[in-house]
């Protein structure tokens, strides 16, 4: 039974890939149309030449930089806002004002401020990471059982001690969900940022996988390379998501059913 199911699930993907290959064979200009076999060969070439790994590492480095700098600020601010009602009441309107702005919409401003290099992409990544992080942190801190806080107060703990020893551990699962969402949207926007920086700066050599895709599109017309990049962007997204889910299950086994 389970064999039948697993065999069935391969039918449509394989069929589509085969169709794609056949269709590519009939296409008029054969060198331009990407076909699965060509994509595989291209992937092999790009990996062995180190082109793809270095571009991915560069993009991931930017994601890491933006994610950690904006994420730590968001974490701190979120803890304070979740903990102190006055601060939250006054800062929440500002957070909610900026939250609907799509990170990519800020890219033109980022280019104006930082030029077309790494800082512009890092800024966009940081912006994308900030909001999931802060919103989930506030949500997590506010969701902490009040009785636990009261118990700690009864036992005479100081405010900072309560924050550190009671609130943070209890809010950790929600914070981690925020980190996972932030990481996902960071990776999404780094590709967009590199792509748009590339297309708007005339392909300056800032590197990264998005930039590589743009160069393939605009200058080298390597469509198979573009498909390889698309697939690797997807694989990295999947690895980030699954990896962080796994870390969460491993590090916080008590929080199985938190968030999405």
């Amino acid at each position: 039974m389970s064999y039948a199911v697993s065999a069935r699930s391969f039918i449509l993907p394989l069929l589509l890939i085969a169709l794609w290959q056949v269709w590519g064979g009939f296409a008029p200009e054969r060198s331009r149309v990407p076909v699965p076999v060509g994509v595989l060969a291209e992937a092999g070439a790009m990996i062995t030449s180190g082109e793809l790994p270095s571009a991915l590492v560069e993009s991931l480095g930017r994601v890491g930089l933006g994610f950690f700098s904006a994420g730590s600020v968001a974490l701190l601010l979120g803890l304070i806002m979740g903990f102190a009602r006055t601060v939250e009441r006054n800062l929440d309107p500002i957070v909610e004002t900026f939250r609907p702005i799509a990170p990519i919409a800020l890219l033109p401003l980022a280019i104006l401020w930082f030029g077309t290099g790494t800082p512009a992409s890092v800024f966009v990544v940081g912006y994308a990471a900030f909001f999931p992080m802060i919103v989930n942190t506030i949500h997590g801190v506010k969701g902490v059982d009040r009785r636990m806080v009261q118990a700690a107060q009864t036992m005479g703990l100081s405010r900072s001690k309560i924050l550190w020893a009671v609130v943070v551990p209890a809010a950790l699962p929600a914070i981690f969900v925020g980190a996972r969402l932030a990481m996902g949207s960071s990776w999404l926007s780094i590709v967009a940022a590199e792509l748009a920086v590339g297309s708007r700066s005339g392909g300056g050599g800032t590197g990264g996988v998005g930039q590589m895709m743009f160069v393939f599109y605009a200058y080298e017309i390597r469509l198979e390379g573009i498909v390889v990049c698309m697939i690797s962007v997807g694989v990295v997204a999947l690895v980030i998501d699954r990896g962080l889910r796994w870390v969460q299950r491993w590090a916080m086994p008590w929080a199985r059913e938190v968030g999405r």
């Binding site: 004002t97 609907p100 919409a105 104006l112 590709v191 573009i226 697939i231 694989v235 999947l238």
Partner: protein, 282 residues
């Protein structure tokens, strides 16, 4: 005499409290959410203004006042309405296409094990590839124009709609379906009368997520490959170094994104009032 003066002085110091005591509505207004909001935003605008003054270069950071003036001008000459109309039209079209494809497919996959086994792997293979990653290839296929943003947005909106429809259909109480079947109702009627209403809350959550995803994809797609629309406008004015207009358009994008979300939330509350709280994970 002296006592009276002191009393009056202390009254003068505590004017807000006094005002609140004399006119309760004023106190309510000052302490209300709206007042706090206005206060916070005014503080933000002040910080922005001071920052802009200290930088002293309007191409880098214009003052809020300059942005407001340009926003007014853009509203007056209709440029904002043109750009927003173009973008919203593309958004609506992609949304409809995604719903027309995603809803039936999700229902089919939810009801038929075979369809699920066949289609699900393709969905799971494509889903990690973000809409934005399709941009270069789509640029090659469609060129710069309407098709590119519509394709990207449809792709982006399809997954939330499809997957939430699927999970809504799957969560339908099987007892209800069996009850309907026992009463001899046909398959189509079961779908329409039982499964669809049961899945509706989840479907609407999917639509709201799709709306949000569409907005950010819209900006990216129009920035890179469209000759018109909001995303194009910010990039156009960036190249002209007309930063106040860039910020004005960013504000419009934010406002419309916010209103879209509010609208879909309203729809959610109106159509499925029994399902409040579902999907309201931040």
């Amino acid at each position: 005499m002296r006592k009276a003066t002191v009393a009056r002085m202390s009254e003068r110091i505590a004017v807000p409290a006094l005002a609140a005591r004399s006119w309760p509505w004023l106190g309510r207004l000052l302490g209300s959410g709206a007042a706090v909001y206005v206060r916070s935003i005014l503080g933000l605008l002040l910080v922005w203004h001071l920052a802009a003054l200290s930088i002293g270069n309007h191409a880098i950071l214009p003052t809020p006042w300059l942005v407001a003036q340009d926003l007014y001008r853009l509203l007056l000459n209709g440029e904002i309405f043109d750009a927003a109309g173009t973008s919203l039209w593309r958004l609506a079209l992609s949304f409809v296409i995604a719903a027309v494809v995603g809803l039936p497919l999700g229902i089919l996959m939810g009801l038929s094990r075979l369809a699920d086994d066949l289609i699900d792997p393709v969905v799971e293979l494509l889903r990690p590839i973000s809409g934005i990653a399709w941009l270069p290839l789509a640029l090659f296929i469609f060129g710069v124009g309407n098709e590119l943003p519509i394709f990207i947005m449809t792709y982006v909106a399809l997954f939330p709609i499809l997957l939430n429809t699927l999970s809504g259909v799957r969560q339908t109480d099987p007892t209800l379906i069996r009850a309907a079947q026992t009463m001899g109702v046909g398959r189509w009627v079961v779908v329409r009368q039982v499964v669809l209403p049961a899945a509706l809350p989840s479907v609407l959550v999917g639509m709201r997520l799709a709306g949000g995803a569409c907005w950010s994809a819209l900006v990216a797609a129009e920035l890179v490959g469209a000759p018109s629309g909001l995303g194009f406008a910010i990039e156009w004015y960036r190249q002209l170094l007309m930063t106040p207009k860039v910020i004005a358009f960013i504000a419009v994008i934010a406002l419309l994104g916010y209103l879209t979300d509010r609208g879909l939330r309203y729809l959610q509350r109106r159509l499925t009032p029994w399902a409040t709280g579902i999907g309201d994970v931040p």
